[in-house]
Symmetry: C2
Subunit: 376 residues, 2 copies
């Protein structure tokens, strides 16, 4: 089994951007790269043989969902997540913290849309120093998620990269509460790391840098977590209510991460954010946006996004984009796709998802080329 | 372009069953065979490259739906239905009659479930000797469907086998009305044939035998339609409220069809009906049941159907059926499929559909073998 290793191939002379290779037990992840989200062990509408064939090098699965369905025991007995879902290439899992706290606090978007600064506590029963107790949305069973239990679940799953348990504080939070949340997150991440190191299993563990949009807290988080033997660093927590705040936060955080270890931006994947994040040295980033957009008929092209169901495509008997080498564009016209979306055929979701995923994989290949040529 | 030709390879010595080959412009259909339904030019959840690779030799598309979306002009401009949907193998289209009259009268099932003996007229505006005028459920436009316009649409689509326009009378209908409906259907089918013969285009046209469950009317329908130069014969109309009625009807009808031309049983595809119909000499039959069942998590196996989402499969880390050579069984376990159904992942619908479709294709291959060995 290849052990985890990060290799920098080229560092840009013009920015912090770099091209690298993350070696994992299930193969290489070329960086910078896009990470698609397959919450339940499935990129929605695609099977994992197709996903592998598109060349998606890293897939993000959610521990919270997999814990509740099918459960860690089933996946362990299957021989791990790769075998259970039949994925040959690398997988990253999160800790479940993000989802369980989203239930408790709502997402930043929920807050900003004034759906209330705090959601009803949903199914979260108790948050304590030990961890979070919540009710399963599947069967109502009480589940206790702690740094230790999250890591043990992620050991059962066997993803190539795992993530320590953290608290996701709400965007609107006082300075005092943000600071104490950060301190608890740091204690939880340390406990996660300790649990991981008892049985590393060839897995890598990335710390999650927190601190919201407070530069001083981000600095403290970098200082605390980079002093620990994490294999890489994810940037999490609230990354701001708009791109300007996110960029400011990244400008504080990125220079404080060790250059010799890979980093990951959690949950951000729109093209604008990419363009902002890549020169700051982001190695990988995950987002459900390209695949969710596909299911809503928003197709990515080099000339911008297009809406598949518009009448102007009814007679476009050519691919979504000429020259595109994806399964969809090699076989089907945009006119047929328009028809499938208009007729609400399930096949539309698969064909559009294949295209957008291929687009992202190909875009990142070109980004790496640009960095290699100091052109980014 | 291969012209349409039917070849009998072997006739059973024990029943009317026979093994044959229908040669069409898009290749051979081995008979007896199952015909999957791809209403809008798509077997739900699959793309047509996958459908071809499963070896489904004949696909049924619905003129009614394709007329309303994307419309005959779009498909003509695309170069025909095969090119529009990228299907390499044969296609059969119906006339639109079945759907438009289902709107007006409701289906047999609707009637039998006492949802009323007659539905509200839906969007049907007028039924006359000329044809049926109805409103498009897409955009509210008035559409006139006549024998001539149905055939012209089917010419634009360019399916290998087309079907004349007919009236689908309700199951509960008086003898007098059934007889006058049959006479009109015969006049419409003759008009359809005349329209077809103006421009045969290498397409074959199958008459539709009507007469409901009245043996005398079925006989009359066979007599009238087999006297005309149709390339094959479909059995349509109401085929009864249960299997016994259907078998009785088939026993009247099948011996009255010319042995040298292929026949097709419309809209019937459950295994029991197959077992009843095949010894009577049915060559092809279409049904949406295997694919719809798949989307509801009902998986076909040689030991009977199983429900994919049952907890007993949660740890079944083997294929749906050992030895099955379908894409799904070669790659994924029933446990993973169970998980995908429980998690309501779109991927479940595709993987289950692939399996059931492969099952039907394989079942019919074995049926042909049995007939060849006089074992059916």
């Amino acid at each position: 089994m290849t052990s985890f290793r990060f290799e920098i191939i080229h560092s840009s002379t013009k920015s912090r951007a770099r091209v690298g290779r993350i070696h994992t037990p299930h193969g290489v992840i070329d960086t910078p790269n896009f990470v698609a989200v397959g919450t339940n062990g499935s990129i929605k509408a695609l099977d994992n043989a197709m996903v592998d064939s598109i060349g998606l090098q890293l897939m993000f699965c959610n521990t919270y969902h997999l814990l509740l369905q099918p459960g860690a025991d089933v996946i362990r007995e299957a021989g791990g997540l790769h075998r259970f879902i039949n994925r040959k290439m690398p997988i990253i899992t999160d800790s479940g913290g993000f989802q369980v706290f989203s239930l408790a606090y709502g997402s930043v978007a929920d807050e900003l849309k004034s759906r209330g600064t705090k959601k009803a506590d949903g199914h979260v029963l108790k948050i304590s120093e030990e961890g979070v107790c919540f009710r399963s949305y599947r069967d109502g069973a009480k589940v206790l998620l702690t740094p230790e239990s999250s890591i043990l679940a992620q050991k059962a799953f066997g993803a190539d990269i795992i993530i320590p348990f953290d608290e996701l504080p709400p965007y609107h939070i006082g300075q005092g509460r943000l600071k104490s949340s950060l301190e608890r997150t740091h204690r939880w991440e340390k406990r996660s790391l300790d649990q991981h190191l008892k049985q590393p299993n060839g897995q890598a563990i990335y710390a999650v840098i927190h601190g919201g949009i407070d530069p001083e807290l981000r600095r403290q988080s970098c200082e605390f977590l980079t002093a620990l033997p994490f294999d890489g660093f994810a940037i999490g927590g609230s990354v701001g209510k708009n791109k300007a705040e996110m960029v400011e936060m990244l400008e504080t955080t990125m220079p404080r991460l060790p250059r010799d270890r890979p980093n990951h931006l959690l949950g951000i994947g729109d093209i604008d954010s990419l363009n902002a994040g890549l020169p700051l040295g982001i190695d990988t980033f995950d987002s459900s946006y390209p695949t969710r957009a596909a299911r809503h008929g928003l197709l990515f092209t080099s000339k911008g996004n297009i809406k598949a169901d518009r009448n102007e495509w009814a007679r476009h008997f050519r691919p979504i984009e000429d020259g595109c080498t994806c399964w969809t564009c090699q076989r089907f016209s945009l006119a047929y796709l328009q028809h499938l979306f208009k007729a609400r055929e399930l096949t539309a979701y698969a064909l559009a998802t294949i295209h957008n995923l291929h687009f992202m994989v190909d875009l990142m290949r070109r980004v790496r080329q640009s960095i290699m040529q100091d052109d980014l």
